[in-house]
């Protein structure tokens, strides 16, 4: 029983990090139908910035805020420099632009910060919490708490604010949205900026647990993407559910069967989902507009 709980807690922590990346995928997807493959690298930018701003002697809280700001700026720059100039391109071409942006970000990070691994202290200390024979670090609670807070905030943003509704309208039909007086380029700018900031938030809260380095976005982006598809692309609740399912399944696999097969879990899950539930667990069934 103690073991089961330990695997569960471990799985929830890892799963929350996948969920945070998946949320970023959903955000951009909702606004533009683009899969932003630089999402994992936004996470890296956030984590690395925080580490190096702190190393420069800036107090932690301020450093975290600055890092999130840098993440948001990175998202805005990706839109201004890559997506906007190609605005009449198909989603598929835009997706390829994001792949290029991801490689670019990794290259810049390598030149700026080197290829080493970096860590920073947990927000509220590193002393492990023990209960019922289960161990977790306080930072895990931060990861889980922030994930929940972000889902709620995103839900409110899309249902209660004009800007959020404008993003949704643009996502459904950008021509109609324009006719209704929505400035769609501002909507996209906001989406990419938010996705960058969201990625950076994920980066700064997971760095004390997972460490950060210039290539951390690769695997994280992949797992986050699986989580997003699993939950149904575009659904925020689905993204979180997908992340948790993935994390918990991996931990159980490593705990009860064999850690050798752990990484296959993500890929088997995505195959099953695509075969049997192509729109994911929480995605809306695709209705073709005629």
């Amino acid at each position: 029983m103690g073991e089961f709980l330990q695997y569960l807690v471990t799985g929830i922590t890892i799963g929350s990090t996948f969920a945070l990346v998946a949320l970023g995928f959903c955000l951009v997807y909702n606004a533009s139908h683009v899969i932003n493959f630089a999402q994992g690298d936004f996470v890296m930018v956030g984590g690395m910035s925080a580490v190096f701003i702190m190393a420069a002697g800036v107090p932690m809280a301020l450093a975290l805020l600055l890092a999130v700001g840098i993440g948001g700026l990175t998202g805005v720059l990706l839109y201004k420099g890559g997506i906007q100039p190609a605005k009449n391109a198909d989603a598929i071409q835009l997706i390829i632009i994001t792949v290029g942006a991801a490689l670019f970000l990794r290259g810049v990070a390598q030149v700026l910060w080197g290829t080493g691994y970096f860590s920073m202290p947990g927000f509220t200390g590193d002393a492990p919490i023990r209960f019922l024979g289960v161990v977790m670090v306080p930072q895990s609670l931060w990861v889980i708490g922030v994930t929940v807070a972000i889902v709620v905030a995103l839900g409110l943003f899309f249902t209660r604010t004009r800007l959020g509704k404008a993003v949704l309208a643009t996502s459904y039909n950008s021509d109609a949205a324009k006719l209704m007086g929505i400035d769609t380029s501002v909507v996209l700018l906001v989406s990419f900026g938010l996705a960058g900031a969201l990625g950076a938030v994920a980066g700064v809260i997971m760095t004390p647990i997972t460490f950060t380095h210039y290539e951390m976005g690769v695997m994280l982006g992949l797992k986050g993407f699986v989580a997003a598809v699993l939950g149904g692309l575009g659904s925020f609740v689905g993204a979180v559910a997908g992340g948790l399912i993935l994390g918990i399944t991996e931990a159980m696999m490593a705990g009860y069967i064999s850690s050798d097969y752990k990484d296959a879990v993500a890929f088997v899950l995505i195959l099953l989902i695509l075969f049997f539930m192509p729109s994911g667990l929480f995605g809306q069934r695709g209705v073709e507009r005629v």
Partner: protein, 384 residues
């Protein structure tokens, strides 16, 4: 980097002219292909720095055999195909008398066959046993092997009466090879591996695997064989789980970076390290003390950072090559090769080398790795 070196190399080859090997005023040509950029840059970069600095120093001190040393270097970006291309160029075009390089096992093995065929002495900087086992006539190496690291760890366990071990390793190249070697040599020390867990190198949490190991009452010690950031995560997870059995790491984590990442969780962790890492605290009569301090001081003065064990491999390779050429009294490849093979009692920074026709590395566990325990955030030697 490559774009810049290519024309220079071509120009140099043109200026030197091809024949006239072995003339008194001819330079001694040392060639290198290193992974100074790309994924293995943390290995190759200090090696390039080391060779550049010490070739200059050798020339300032009058060169080798009274001749200048000319050093030709290429960056293979950690790609085996590139390594092979540059090895061929070093042999055919640059007429290297001896080649030092092959930062990774992949780069080395891609080029080995060329040196064998063209009969050019080659000192590899790669770790794996396969480089010198089976013995290849023209191929030597200076780094310790993962097999020796496993032996050193098990020897320490044997001294402490530990017989049952839980092994946890990464599935990357280094971890997988280490796992294999550890399983292979455990018997020699009467040690049984009762748990054998793995994780993928990108994993951010190994609590599940460690929980499994903790659940096995038989396990008396845990041995984590891997490099990079993963062992630091293992160490943290191990400390958080409050496991009361000792944790051993491999030489793969022997860097300041590990101490930083693992933090206080690393207290009490034991591991084998290259002597250079603990040069400051080695006793004065230690055969590795003097060469290590010489190397450290020169490197730090030039680059203002502490060199790693990886740079030390290149330093040893260069000094062994120079020593062999001096003893051979010529740069004739056969004479140099024979001199390399008869290197004996050579006190390097990695250990004391005793090469033989059967052993082209020449290190044993007595004279190379030192066991250390991490205390107060730094390395401290374990007395035998």
């Amino acid at each position: 980097m490559m774009k810049k070196t290519l024309p220079v190399a071509a120009l140099a080859a043109a200026m030197i002219g091809l024949p006239a090997q072995g003339m008194a005023d001819d330079p001694v040509r040392i060639g290198s292909f290193l992974s100074a950029s790309g994924p293995a840059s943390y290995l190759g970069d200090p090696q390039r720095n080391t060779l550049r600095l010490f070739v200059d120093k050798i020339n300032e001190d009058g060169g080798v055999l009274g001749r200048d040393v000319e050093w030709q270097y290429y960056d293979d970006h950690g790609e085996a195909g590139q390594a092979r291309t540059f090895a061929r160029r070093l042999i055919a075009q640059d007429q290297s008398d001896i080649v030092i390089g092959g930062t990774t096992t992949g780069a080395t093995m891609a080029a080995v066959e060329l040196f064998q065929r063209q009969e050019t002495p080659f000192i590899s900087l790669a770790g794996a046993v396969v480089v010198v086992d089976p013995v290849k006539e023209w191929v030597f190496k200076t780094p310790e092997t993962d097999r020796m690291a496993a032996r050193q760890v098990f020897a320490d366990m044997e001294r402490r009466g530990i017989t049952k071990v839980g092994l946890i390793s990464g599935t990357g190249g280094f971890g997988a090879s280490g796992r294999e070697q550890a399983r292979d040599v455990a018997d020699e020390f009467g040690i049984e591996i009762v748990m054998d867990e793995t994780y993928s190198p990108d994993d951010s949490d190994m609590t599940a695997q460690l929980t499994r190991i903790r659940g096995n009452e038989d396990v008396e010690a845990i041995f984590n064989f891997d490099f990079g950031q993963a062992p630091a995560i293992v160490t943290r997870n191990y400390a958080n789980l409050g496991i009361d059995r000792p944790l051993y790491q491999s030489h793969g984590v022997a860097s300041e970076g590990f101490l930083e990442l693992a933090g206080s969780a690393a207290e009490g962790v034991r591991l084998p390290v290259s002597p250079i890492l603990v040069a400051d605290i080695l006793p004065e009569d230690d055969p590795q003390k003097a060469p290590s301090m010489d190397y450290l001081e020169a490197y730090e003065a030039e680059y203002e950072e502490r060199p790693s064990a990886f740079g030390g491999y290149a330093y040893d390779a260069l000094m062994i090559a120079v020593d062999a050429i001096e003893r051979a009294g010529t740069t004739d490849p056969h004479a140099v090769r024979d001199a390399l093979e008869s290197t004996s009692d050579f006190d390097g920074v990695t250990g004391t080398f005793n090469m033989t026709p059967e052993d082209h590395m020449g290190l044993d566990i007595e004279t190379s790795f030192r066991m250390v325990e991490i205390k107060d955030g730094t390395w401290s030697l374990i007395e035998d």
